[in-house]
């Protein structure tokens, strides 16, 4: 029996400020999929990721994410969004908060149960009192991965997941992606450097000039 797709795009398109960014996207993401997305700058990769995160709505066609689409009520959409995690190209941290507070705040807002100290796992325990404004890009990326260690999303979306991470921290990407796939979820990894994500992915798509094509591996 075919599994129910987590994400389904049907002839989906997205335009902003009169510019067509994506068009005619047909794509399904099944449980266990680890999808690699590559393509040149400005091709529409990040927009595809934001549509998958429900942060954008398609301006044409259908985009269903964890069964939420354009007709989904706001409270149901909020529940769907709680099952999605995204680590974007720029770190999402509050500069005035400490590294620990940056992890703790999101966990509190989500209402996650207490877990093992994620800062220790990502090697930032000793720097937990540092304000994020003092932290390097790599430390901020570790904070973002620390947040992902406190729960397992159904859909994990990573934009340039290895950017800023040193060799010691790179296995964090493998760990969170592996955990999501093992729990019946799916991951989407956007990367300019396909070589870094190739060992992880099960499928790859290419985004070029707003169009998406599946690559045969």
């Amino acid at each position: 029996m075919a599994s129910h797709p987590l994400v389904r795009f049907e002839d989906a398109g997205y335009a902003a400020a009169g510019t067509l960014i994506l068009r005619g996207v047909n794509l399904t993401i099944e449980p266990g999929d680890i999808l690699g997305v590559s393509g040149p700058n400005g091709a529409g990769k990040t927009t595809l990721l934001r549509l998958t995160a429900t942060l954008h709505r398609p301006t044409s066609g259908v985009c269903s994410v964890l069964d939420a689409d354009a007709d989904t009520r706001p409270e149901e959409l909020a529940a769907v969004r709680r099952k999605i995690a995204m680590v974007g190209h720029f770190p999402a941290v509050w500069p005035e908060l400490t590294l620990r507070e940056n992890v703790e705040l999101v966990s509190r807002l989500r209402g996650d149960p207490p877990s093992e100290d994620p800062l220790r796992t990502v090697g930032l325990e000793a720097l937990e009192r540092w304000k994020a404004s003092r932290a390097s890009l790599g430390m901020k990326r570790r904070v973002e991965f620390a947040r992902l260690l406190t729960w397992t999303p159904r859909l994990l979306l990573l934009d340039e997941p290895h950017a800023g991470l040193d060799a010691a921290a790179a296995p964090l990407v493998d760990e969170v992606v592996g955990r999501v796939a093992a729990n019946g979820g799916a991951a989407v990894l956007v990367s300019h450097d396909p070589g870094r994500v190739t060992p992880l992915i099960t499928r790859r798509i290419l985004v070029s000039a707003g169009e998406v094509s599946e690559e045969i591996r």
Binding site: A78, A79, R82
Partner: protein
């Protein structure tokens, strides 16, 4: 609809589920207030930058007007609240309360209720404005020497009502201009005229209270403005959150 879906729907609307959602909502509101205050206390934009400038503004009027004590007594409450509104609006639309896009995305995907975010930010702004007013009121009393025997309780409620109104208004305007390039200029231009009813109520109320007369009608006006802004903010929070993304 299948029996399973029906059951799930009923489960979603059960009293225990609603209680959990309520607890989640208030917990999120509380954590947003904590975060906003913590960021502000560390950044110090309000108390260390706006308050000294506001105190200087209060000082300049007596210097310009000279020793006409009767005039100073008359304009004291108006000057205090004009300064609170003008400088206070810069507090409520402070840059640190406007989240970057990655942070907004993170909050959305964390399940933060836009209404809880609105109430949390408004609550934090109101608390900051209340402290701001408490710092400036003695300055006004010393410099402008209003008549004695004020109704302190009444003054306190006026300060609370005005802080809540300006906190709600500033947060609402900040949400409206989020994502606009000229937001730092637009926010005060939009919010100060909308603060006119607050200014009228609180200035008249303060005049009454400083003269030992009740200010019930002005307190009621402030409460009405608070309520209108609260309803507007609660109704607009979610649509604004979606459309400004």
């Amino acid at each position: 609809m299948t029996a399973e879906q029906n059951g799930a729907e009923q489960k979603d609307r059960s009293p225990s589920r609603r209680a959990v959602l309520r607890r989640t909502f208030w917990r999120q509101t509380w954590w947003v207030i904590r975060k906003e205050l913590r960021v502000e206390l560390r950044g110090g934009e309000t108390l260390w930058m706006a308050a000294p400038f506001a105190a200087m503004a209060l000082l300049l009027a007596p210097l310009a007007l000279g020793t006409d004590t009767a005039l100073l007594r008359r304009i004291g409450p108006g000057m205090l609240w004009l300064v609170v509104v003008l400088f206070g609006m810069t507090v409520t639309v402070r840059p640190t309360s406007i989240e970057s896009r990655p942070v907004r995305d993170l909050l959305t995907l964390s399940g933060l209720d836009p209404v809880a975010a609105f109430l949390g930010r408004s609550g934090a702004s109101a608390a900051l404005l209340f402290v701001f007013t408490l710092v400036l009121t003695p300055v006004m009393i010393v410099l402008y020497g209003p008549d004695s025997a004020p109704l302190w309780g009444c003054l306190l409620w006026l300060a609370v009502g005005a802080a809540v109104a300006l906190g709600l208004l500033g947060t609402l305007v900040a949400a409206l201009v989020t994502g606009l390039r000229s937001r730092t200029a637009l926010a005060p231009i939009m919010s100060v005229p909308l603060a006119a009813p607050v200014l009228i109520a609180v200035v008249n109320g303060t005049e009454n209270a400083l003269n030992g007369q009740p200010a019930t009608i002005w307190l009621l006006m402030l409460a009405a403005v608070d309520l209108i802004l609260l309803i507007a903010g609660v109704m607009l929070a979610a649509p604004l959150d979606e459309t400004t993304r």
